[in-house]
Every structure is written in C-alpha cells, then in structure tokens.
C-alpha cells in the first residue's frame, strides 16, 4: 500500500517536472543534449566542454546584423549571394539572414516580444500588412541619412544613384512629408498583358485608345473571345492608379492618394469609375468565380488559351505561367494603359518592393550600411541575375530578352505612376483597397452599380482623411 503511494507520488512529480521542463524553452544556458538521468556524474562531465567554443579572440569588432527578407518570385538564392558579398566587403560583420515566403509569420512573433530584425525587406500591399502596421504606428526609422551616404565601395551618393522620381512617392515617403522611410527595391512595371500571337493571327491591331479597345472587344466577342479578365481584384490597385494618373495628372493622383475631400467624386475620378464599369461588361464570364487566391491562375490561363485578350498584371506573370500549356503561336505582349483622355498620355503603374529599418532595431548603423549597399553595382548585378531589377541609373544595361520589352514600356510615351495610399492611423472597419478594388467583383457580377461603388470609395476616403496626421 505504502509502496504504491510512493510510486504514484514519484510519477506525479516526474510528470510535473517534465511539464515545467517543456515550458522552459531556451532560457536555461548551455543546450547540451539531455544526459541520462540515472548518473549524476555524467551530467557534470557533459556540461564541462561547452564554454570552450567561446574563446575566439575577435580582431575586428564582431557585429551581427539581422536581415529579414521576403522570398518573392525572384527566389531565395540571390539573397544568400548578396549577403555573402556584403560579409566579404565588411569584415567582422556576420549577417543572420531570415528568408521566407510568409515572412510576417516568421518574424512577427519575436517582434511582438521586442526582438526586432535590423533590416527588413518586405513590401507594402501584402495581406498581412506588417509594413503598413508598423508605418501606422510610427515604428520605422527615417532613412534620410542613408540617402546622403555614399554607396559602399563606390563614390556616388545613394540618392544620386537611385533613378529620379523613385524617392518622391508615397511608396517611399508614406506620411507625405518628404521624409523617406522605405528604400525602393526591385521595380517592376504593371500594365496590360495580352496574347500578341492571337492579335497577329486574327489581324487585329493592338488598341491604343479605349475607343479602339471597345471596338476590339465587340469584334472579339463575335468570335467568342472576351476582351478582358483579371487574376484577382487585388490587381486593380495598379490599374486604377494608372487610370487615375492618366485621367487627371500626377497632382490629381496624389490628391486621391491623400484622401482629399470630394476627390473621388470629381469629374476625373468619375471617368475612371465609368471606365472600369464599361470594362466590366467586356470581362470574361467566369472570371469572378476564379478571382480568389486558390484559382486565380485559371483566369491567367484564359489568356494562354485564347479565351481572353487582356489582363492587368506585373512582369512576373510570364515566369509564373512558364509551365502552363498554351495555344499555338502564343506570344506575350505587354503595354501601358491607353490614355483615359483623348490625346492624353497613357500610364503604367510602377510597382516596387520596399526595404526598411524598424525604429527598434539594435544595430542601426550597420543596418543603414546594408541598405546603402543594396544600391551598389555589385548587389544590383547579383539581383539582376535573378531578374530582380534595382531602381538605379544604368540598370537597363543588365537587361535582356523579355525583360527588355517589359522595362521599355515607358519608352513609348507612357508615364510612370508610383506610390500608393498615404499612411493613416488605423481606422476600424475601413479598408480602402478592399473598397476600391474588391468591389470590382460586384461591378462585374452586377451586384452593385458604379455609382454605389463610387459613393462607398468617397465615404471610406472621408473616414481615412480624418485619421491622417
């Protein structure tokens, strides 16, 4: 009886101890493999050799730089290469690279615990909106002095090396106050992709105005081909930005992005809403059903199958669909949005990713050095090999093949549009991109009218204006 009791007490104690050990995590010093519990002498011996590793005498000041980078369509290898090159040119610096397709999920738990990476490469406009959240909470370091730094290993200042225009946008100066918080990375023009092979085969001309576009739509409809499709409504940000800039010029575009009162109900904005409304009528019938994260490639496939002609997208599309089956004689074509006003300029939105330094970063000086290094020829060449194009002057020399065509979109008189909505304090229940882009699905399916859509966008804009600083 007594023995039984002792045994059960022992068992319970072991269980509790095991539970506490499980909760303990990495707090407990040397992480030697768990020694066999029956011999205490082994335990002390096993722990003894541990401190020996720490005896390297550093000659240069040892620094650890924590870099977190988003693994996008360009792949992860280029980051390891760039980091290796950075370490080679900066003795004593060890870069701890975190790279992931879902970077937010990987870094945000430790960020919530106060452990921030020193440099983060993560664009705005992602679903988890980590970059936007930190911006809205004023948790970013201004990059003003990075722009004044000389590019490591060269004698040019960072701000002189970046292509003019890239640093004057809301996508680099999110508060609209002229202070740069995001360093522009990897730019990529967005526009309309089409099947150049199909147009050639049918003898149709590439439309240069929206009137020609609608004519082509009617001609194609007679043959059972739709004029337009879109992967998901998320792509309408680039589309509407370009259309807005084309309709009212860049100042008008900035007023829209900074939620100016009544701007979304102005005549120029109305033109854009109505343009999308007309386009909705020419949209392929099954597009809405596949316009979600699971099935968007089916919409892109419509272009390859000659079932639709145009689709708004970025330069990564041909790569994304490289393995997909396609119609005979298929050939990618890429153009800017035709001008919204007669005789005006066409526009193409230029999308780029961003790199930033959290205000809570530990090693800020080296972080700034790393950001500056991103604009060196050495880094740009490594990136360009993976078709990631840095916005620095003279970058076009590295381009070849299809990429040359994509990046020459601005050579035919189209204006580049850059930026995005200004940062505001978070407004509960109001999401501008959802209202502006998500509603397109309802316009295409006929559940909402263009006027309702326009009114909803103006309402969201009113609420966000109040939250701007």
């Amino acid at each position: 009886m007594k023995v039984k009791k002792v045994i059960s007490t022992l068992l319970v104690t072991t269980m509790t101890a095991a539970m506490l050990a499980g909760c303990g995590g990495s707090g407990g010093g040397a992480e030697a493999p768990a020694p066999a519990a029956d011999n205490a002498a082994d335990e002390t011996q096993a722990e003894a050799p541990a401190p020996a590793d720490a005896e390297e005498a550093p000659e240069v000041e040892e620094q650890v730089l924590k870099v977190a980078a988003f693994e996008g369509g360009y792949g992860a290898d280029m980051w390891s290469e760039v980091v290796a090159a950075f370490e080679a040119s900066h003795p004593g610096v060890t870069v701890e690279l975190t790279i992931d397709k879902k970077l937010e999920d990987v870094i945000s738990p430790s960020m919530k615990a106060g452990d921030y990476p020193d440099v983060v490469h993560l664009a705005t406009g992602r679903e988890a909106a980590l970059t936007e959240t930190l911006t809205k909470e004023n948790a970013l370091l201004p990059l003003t002095d990075v722009l004044e730094m000389t590019v490591p290993g060269e004698d040019v200042k960072v701000k002189d090396k970046i292509i003019p225009g890239f640093l004057d946008t809301l996508a680099t100066n999110p508060y609209g106050d002229g202070v740069t918080y995001y360093a522009p990375m990897f730019y990529s023009p967005c526009g309309l992709f089409y099947n150049a092979g199909l147009l050639k085969e049918k003898g149709w001309d590439v439309p240069t105005t929206w009137t020609e576009m609608w004519e082509l739509g009617d001609t194609a409809a007679a043959e059972g081909i739709a004029l337009f499709t879109y992967p998901t409504t998320g792509y309408f940000d680039a589309f509407t930005y370009a259309a807005l800039a084309s309709a009212g010029g860049s100042e008008f575009f900035d007023s829209c992005m900074t939620y100016e009162d009544g701007i979304w109900e102005s005549a120029d904005a109305t033109k854009v809403f109505e343009l999308v409304g007309t386009l909705a009528g020419y949209t392929e019938a099954t597009t809405v059903a596949n316009a979600n994260n699971d099935n968007f490639t089916k919409n892109q496939q419509l272009i390859l199958d000659n079932k639709a002609i145009f689709c708004p997208n970025g330069t990564w599309l041909p790569g994304e669909m490289a393995e997909a089956p396609r119609a005979d004689g298929f050939e990618w074509g890429f153009m800017a949005l035709p001008a919204v006003n007669d005789g005006g300029a066409g526009c193409s939105f230029c999308w780029f990713e961003q790199m930033w330094i959290p205000a809570a970063a530990q090693n800020q000086d080296m972080a700034k050095e790393f950001v500056a290094y991103m604009y060196s020829d050495e880094a740009a060449q490594i990136f360009a090999k993976a078709t990631a194009i840095q916005p620095i002057t003279g970058v076009s020399d590295y381009l070849e093949g299809d990429n040359k065509m994509f990046y020459s979109i601005y050579d035919n008189g189209a204006t580049a549009v850059m930026g995005g909505f200004a940062a505001t304090a978070p407004v509960e229940g109001v999401n501008m991109l959802d209202t502006l882009c998500g509603t397109v699905n309802s316009i295409v399916s006929g559940d909402k009218t263009v006027a309702e859509w326009q009114a909803a966008v103006e309402e969201a804009s009113d609420k966000l204006r109040a939250a701007m600083e």
């Binding site: 319970v12 919530k112 988890a128 909470e137 979600n292 978070p426 509960e428 229940g429």
Partner: protein, 297 residues
C-alpha cells in the same frame, strides 16, 4: 485525520499540472482578449490607447460586420440542420439495417473528416469550377452545355450555399459515427417488442432510437455551433478568401482581416469578444431548449 490531509495534498499535486496549463493557456488569453478589446492598438508598437467601449460602438455601425454575422448565422443554421438530419438517417440505416458492405460505407463517410480543410477546399474548387467542374458538367447534361455556366464561387447569392455544401460534406461522417456509437447501446429487446406490436421502422426511429440517444444529440448540437464558427473560417480562407466582394466573410475571417490586415488589433479583439459571447450564449440557449428528462433503459 493525518491520512485525510495527505490525501488532499496528493489530489492537489495530481490536479496541479492540468490547472496550471488551463490557467496559462485558457484563462489568461481569454482575459487578454477581453482586455485588448478596450484598446486601440495596431498589434506591434507600445502605443496602446485605452478607448473604453469605443470599439464596440464602431462595431454596431459596421455593416461589413453585420454581413459576416448574417453569413455565420446562416452557416450555423443550414449546416446544423442538414448535417444532423443526414447523419441521423445514415447512422440509423447503418446500425439498424442489414446492408452489404456496412463497414465500407462507414469508412467512406468518415474519410472527409480525416482530410485537411485545405484538401477539401481544393477538391471543392475543382467541383465548382465553372467550365470543367464536376457540378456544372453534370448539370450541363440536363440544361444543355451551351448555357452560361453557373458560377458557384462567383455568384454572390449562391456562394455561401457552396460553402454550406462543402461543410456538410466534411461534417457528416463525424456526427454519423457519434450517433452510431450511441445507437449501438440501445437494447435490441426494445426493437423486438416494437416489432411484435407492429411498429414500422420510421415509428421505431422516432419513438425508440431518437429519444434514447437524445443526450448524445444535445451534446453534438454544441459541437455544431462551435465547429461551424471555427471551420467556416478555414473554408473561407482556403476557398474564397471572403470574396467575391465580402459575400462569404464570416465572423472569424472578418476578425482576422481587421486584426491583422487592417492594423486594428483592438477592434479585432472586440469582434472576438462578440464571437465568444455569441457562441457561449447560443450553446446555452440550445442546451436549455433541448433539455428533456433523460430516459433510462
């Protein structure tokens, strides 16, 4: 006396691990959800601003929230009624009737439950595909294949029912097995005497089977409420992402959107509080309404 004290110490030590875990992983987080719902906070910085019940005030005027509320209630009601009816029927047939390959059917019905929701979503994506999907192809035989395809995931009036179908398909097997387990314990003698007195199978089901497994049915009702709320989030995430244009937004997907995508963590937690109270309240109501004197056999 001494022995009694030792006994309670022993019990205390035995219960302690579970209690500690429960406090750390259940009570404290729940308390935090309630607390955070009173703050305006983006989720990362240290700038938490106490705003009292303001989040709830905004919530009461948020039409998107009400839409997600409606969708959730619709899902709970439709999924519960249809799943319960079908799984009761299947359970009764499989446990009362002599059918060839009973165990085979049992496995077939249970398989959807082992599959991950992401896999089920992929399957249903293929079924609902407007052009080459299973559903439209079958319907096409009757209405002619040249008609415009039905957009199961694109039509805003249909899409929520497309979700309902997927959720029912996923849940039937689980509840069927639960009902079969309790049907197995109903004594055979009751059915024999009912047979002798001339009661038909349907009458036997309503007068014997259903009353005797009633406790089990009540328990599953609570499961239905909880799992509809939880699973609908997974299905929406994987199948429609809340679209088209918010037509399939449910409680938790809207909460997720607000807390993480819209940088309004506090507001998301306020939605969490409403969901918590709603599911608690609904389970209580369901429990109260279905209360019967338990039958002994």
């Amino acid at each position: 006396m001494k022995k009694g004290k030792a006994r309670s110490v022993f019990i205390g030590v035995c219960v302690a691990p579970a209690v500690i875990l429960f406090i750390i992983f259940m009570l404290i987080p729940t308390f935090n959800v309630f607390k955070m719902s009173l703050y305006k906070w983006g989720g990362y910085s240290n700038t938490k601003e106490f705003v009292g019940l303001n989040n709830f005030k905004i919530l009461m005027e948020d039409m998107n929230f009400f839409r997600s509320f409606q969708n959730t209630v619709l899902l709970i009601v439709c999924v519960t009624i249809v799943t319960m009816a079908l799984s009761l029927i299947f359970a009764a047939i499989l446990s009362r009737e002599e059918i060839k390959g009973q165990n085979f059917y049992r496995i077939i019905f249970y398989i959807p439950n082992i599959l991950s929701v992401v896999v089920i979503s992929a399957i249903f994506s293929a079924i609902y595909d407007p052009n080459n999907g299973l559903l439209n192809s079958i319907i096409g035989i009757f209405r002619g294949s040249d008609k415009t395809p039905i957009l199961w995931l694109g039509d805003q009036k249909l899409v929520i029912y497309s979700l309902v179908i997927a959720m029912i398909w996923q849940a039937i097997g689980y509840y069927m097995v639960m009902y079969m387990a309790s049907m197995a314990s109903v004594p055979e003698s009751l059915y024999e005497s009912a047979n002798l007195e001339g009661a038909g199978r349907i009458q036997q089901f309503f007068s014997i089977t259903l009353p005797l497994i009633w406790t089990n049915v009540r328990t599953t009702l609570t499961f239905f409420v909880i799992s509809s709320i939880n699973l609908s989030f997974l299905f929406v995430k994987a199948l429609t992402s809340g679209g088209p244009d918010g037509a399939t937004e449910v409680f938790l997907s809207y909460m997720y959107k607000q807390a993480y995508t819209n940088s309004s963590y506090g507001y998301g937690m306020a939605i969490g509080v409403i969901v918590f109270l709603f599911s608690f309240g609904l389970s209580a109501v369901v429990n109260f309404v279905t209360k019967r004197e338990p039958l002994e056999f």
